[in-house]
Symmetry: C2
Subunit: 331 residues, 2 copies
């Protein structure tokens, strides 16, 4: 707000797509800025610009930062990475010229500016040189949960957010070990993400959200989605595992004699730091935990899960009890 020789840089989160999900502050900052900058692909259409369109004026200076490449193939001697680095340097220099001239620059960012996304490359090159403020925004993670109408995380649950570009085995391990999850950057990665959900035993729970809050929005069960139809602006969601109290379907595994199962897990010699994702996933998915009290006590509490700790010397009774529970349909 103070007068200074240089202008001020704003990273402005625009939310997931619906212009009414911009914050009041984002609207204010855009209205007061001299320069509006946004990234776009080579075709020149900027989703960020279209979200903010109602607030752009004829006297705004617009800086379109157009990516030189859209896939990983390029003629640049430094390859894809080198081409991008040059592009970011050049884009930052264009914004710096405005800031040096005392102009306020608002860089538009879909979702939240510091959560994946292009603004970060400008931030790293400019924020230490100019007064800078980041306006946080609603992420596609929150938007997807809202459009599904399903709780994302509750109580002691852990949420993992991960890009679909990771290797399939890596995705499977992360998905097995977490409670809730959102997988970003679908599109061409969809088949791999679906495979990872299947390997992690979580395909049935997985939900799909395409273009949340935007035109052409689609939601549904991920298992039903045609892989050929998936755009980049879509996410996979594993919602909260805490059972719905009323209304929703009862979890299939509880008290259903057709589905009982005993899973024997090794917890390793030294606690969670050496616990594998597969064991962690099995512990989280269980209805009942049966074991030596000292070990059972270390497993985080989970609503609806029953714990049966016992002495170290009653292994056969414990096994019998676990099999009895499984016969009654528990897992």
């Amino acid at each position: 707000m103070e007068q200074s020789a240089t202008g001020r840089l704003y990273g402005v989160g625009l939310g997931p797509g619906d212009p009414s999900l911009m914050t009041v502050r984002a609207v204010e900052v855009i209205a007061a800025a001299d320069v509006i900058a946004y990234h776009s692909a080579r075709h020149g259409r900027s989703i960020a610009r279209s979200i903010a369109a109602a607030h752009l004026r004829a006297d705004h200076i617009e800086e379109a930062l157009v990516y030189p490449v859209t896939t990983e193939s390029t003629d640049h001697p430094g390859g894809y990475r080198g081409a991008l680095d040059d592009f970011y340097e050049e884009a930052a220099a264009r914004l710096a010229a405005h800031l040096d001239a005392g102009r306020t620059v608002a860089v538009l960012a879909e979702g939240d500016p510091l959560f994946y996304g292009s603004y970060q490359h400008m931030h790293k090159r400019l924020a230490h040189r100019y007064p800078t403020e980041v306006i946080p925004g609603v992420t596609s993670v929150s938007a997807a949960a809202a459009r599904l109408g399903e709780p994302l995380v509750e109580a002691e649950e852990v949420l993992t957010i991960l890009p679909g570009t990771l290797p399939e085995e890596e995705l499977a391990a992360r998905l097995a070990a977490t409670d809730s999850a959102v997988v970003m950057k679908l599109g061409r990665t969809f088949g791999k993400v679906r495979g990872a959900l299947e390997r992690a035993g979580r395909l049935d729970e997985a939900r799909y959200v395409e273009r949340a809050t935007m035109k052409g929005e689609r939601t549904g069960s991920l298992a039903d989605v045609d892989p050929e139809s998936v755009p980049y602006f879509s996410v996979a969601v594993l919602p909260s595992r805490v059972a719905p109290l009323t209304g929703g379907p009862k979890p299939a595994s509880s008290e259903d004699p057709g589905r009982g199962e005993v899973v024997v897990v090794g917890t390793g010699p030294a606690g969670p730091l050496w616990l594998t994702p597969e064991t962690r996933g099995a512990l989280a998915a269980a209805d009942d935990l049966v074991g030596y009290t000292t070990y059972v006590d270390r497993v985080p509490h989970r609503p609806g899960q029953r714990r049966h700790g016992s002495d170290n010397r009653v292994e056969s009774e414990r096994a019998e009890f676990a099999l009895e529970l499984a016969k009654r349909g528990r897992r």
Copy 2:
């Protein structure tokens, strides 16, 4: 929008605290609602109400949903859990009476309505019975990153969001295995969270944000925080590990002869599903990966990290090479 016999339920995300971080849609929905509901502790002050205060009118019907207990001690025969369940049932019944009378009810939610938090308990009891819409909001996660001015996740990084109420060992394992992290629900859990960051080898990177975007905001290095001074409305942040390109400090471990280290990790017999959090953390923190190409290829790529795959039969050359790198200060 259509006329219906019953009213409409809205879960309204208010953002992290600064009223200007409410979305345009949240402001609209509050203005148009007949009933404004909000949770509060027994002292009656509602942070949610205070964020929305400028938009409340004298003719709004206000429903304060006052928690009967604030700690885990209670006289209720069902204990803490039973007391809460009764409270949620009674609160939902109060809102249902308004909805049955055709009134629009807006339930105010700090941050995002489906991301931890109280609105979810109303949603689970009412959303299947009445037309319901959730307005997503800016989370304290995005607000904390914005106030720190540090990127949260970039490229192929994984973000883990977890509650400080988990056991310390569990926290340490989760923090070791992730790239970025935000730990919610600090306050009395702070000492444990600090201990877990230390055990995970990540205390030096950890940042602290108290009351992000609110009055009394405080940010800094987590290691410097006095545990006695930490309120519930604070979070711990492990920002993006992708090194700042310019401006920020260079990572201490690269090319610093005083700090080189060889870490020998076991990747297990079957890929990431059996990979321990400790190994995963060491792989992510390395400057150089040295090993059999087949295994090295499975580890996700990370900007700035160098990979040295080799044949399966050159173990001693490989070891020598790794020691040589460590002598030059690399990890």
